[in-house]
Subunit: 305 residues, 2 copies
């Protein structure tokens, strides 16, 4: 049974396209409207049959019971403002941004009081982007984090529950958390890893000592793993770092401090300290696999092909 | 046709076990002797049927045409010394160490002049270790780097060619390089990526702001990729960093310098600089895939299961 009669997805990239496909495949919505600010993306969304593609945002959200803002974090406020006048009373609005406090501020300021804003973040994706990258099973068994606003009203609580039902229908596991906590946790589990990957890959492109083609040729010895996450959408990630600055700088400071200690241990030949640290890091892998967050197959199973 | 009548593999971990299995499966050797300094590993190697397991290294290498030292870099000198008296005249000795200059020094000093030492490094492996982790196809379409010593003698050149034939028979692509160059290139493509991964994973274990179980729970948002290479054998990696200190410290210095610039760009909200860097990093992924060094499937294809 449909959770919502009609939904509108604003932004038809990897995440927006996947939501549209998953909502149809699961039957979580009966009618799926889409809008993207880029005319070429709208055209491609039509060709892919992602839903009823509209050429204006107010038209897309008219009569929608749920509106999903699936644009980069820095564009959330503008996307909300562009839809605002089309929203029906009682519409639920959510987003998929990787940062929550900044989005809460920007979107809340743009929406009318007759809509319910329930911020969210699906921890799902690939290194690919654009409408062609979307697929219906993207959210299966992945976490969807909701960071509801601090409202005591029963109608708001009901809107949150209903959005949770929607994500369950798409195959996700749902967690609730406050926006501040979300931003700290994701700075560690997602933002810093991406920053480190971007940094090492960009660095390797213009070394004096080793050519780029050598790096590519011998990348299977470790480097290639980093190129995957460094292939993620640059606009999305620019916005993440600009909008979660404090938490990212905090954890980056800690990373650099620890790296300096490791550097010193290498310089002074402290084998026991290196061993102890590497052994400690190794244990985390087991826990990640036991938690169902990665495959146990060696090399991510990529050598099976 | 066999490249060698009899080979001996010293060290029955992931790499040694894989060489034994690959040599048998490919027919590259008719008799495969093995030795490991650890009695439990020898026992396991017998149970797995990896070859003729010997309880002493001199016995294992007796009459061997090729001896492969497959132990951590820091144990290479001792492994060579332990076999030295058993080596027949004209035996070829190679190794699989991830560092070459330090191994060349340690092994050359331990071997008799009637053996040919041809250093080597297969760029192949998984995050697993021990005899059970070995498999026969590990070297298929992976690089095997040989760093021959600077000899003008024709018999030495013939030994290098024969070792190259052996690795081809195991499915590898062979490159020759000098040892110093190898150590600089691998510091970038392998040693630094592993160091960074060990550092971020160990850091995430004892943060004040975020618990270890939160990191594990939400690791699929990026962090999990790092846990894979941080699960690699700690003894092996300790020895790599202790024995390729100069090249690692050099490239680590450059990484930290670039990371400081990135940190500054975040602090000052320099969106254009961030975008340009992320966009540049993205291109490298394409080249890695075009070079056949990684799968093009999103998320390494691990979500197929």
């Amino acid at each position: 049974m449909a959770v919502f009669e009609r939904i509108a997805v604003i932004g038809a990239g990897l995440i927006g396209a996947s939501i549209a496909l998953a909502a149809r495949e699961s039957g979580a919505a009966n009618v799926i409207a889409l809008y993207d600010a880029n005319a070429e993306v709208r055209q491609r969304a039509r060709e892919l049959g992602l839903g009823d593609v509209s050429d204006d945002p107010e038209g897309a959200v008219a009569q929608a019971d749920l509106v999903v803002l699936a644009v980069p974090v820095g564009a959330m406020g503008a996307a909300a403002a562009a839809c605002a006048r089309g929203l029906k009373a009682g519409a639920i609005v959510t987003d998929v941004g990787s940062v929550k406090q900044a989005v809460v501020e920007a979107v809340s300021a743009a929406l009318p009081s007759h809509a319910y804003f329930v911020p969210g973040h699906p921890l799902a994706g690939t290194e690919h982007s654009g409408p062609d990258a979307g697929f219906a099973t993207l959210f299966h068994n992945r976490w969807q984090i909701l960071t509801p606003l601090k409202h005591d009203r029963a109608d708001y609580a009901a809107a949150v529950d209903r959005l949770e039902d929607f994500w369950h229908a798409l195959g996700a596991n749902v967690e609730r958390m406050d926006a501040e906590r979300h931003d700290v946790v994701l700075a560690v589990t997602s933002h810093l890893p991406h920053l480190i990957a971007f940094n090492i890959v960009a660095m390797a492109e213009d070394l004096e000592s080793v050519t780029e083609s050598e790096v590519v040729k011998y990348s299977a010895s470790g480097f290639r793993d980093f190129t995957r996450i460094a292939a993620s959408d640059p606009t999305m990630w620019r916005d993440v770092f600009l909008n979660n600055k404090d938490a990212v700088l905090e954890v980056l400071g800690r990373f650099s401090e620890d790296l300096a200690a490791l550097q010193r241990a290498i310089r002074w030949g402290e084998g026991d300290a290196l061993y102890a640290l590497f052994d400690r890091a190794r244990r985390m892998r087991r826990e990640v696999i036991e938690a169902g967050q990665d495959t146990a197959a060696p090399n991510f199973g990529r050598d099976r092909s």
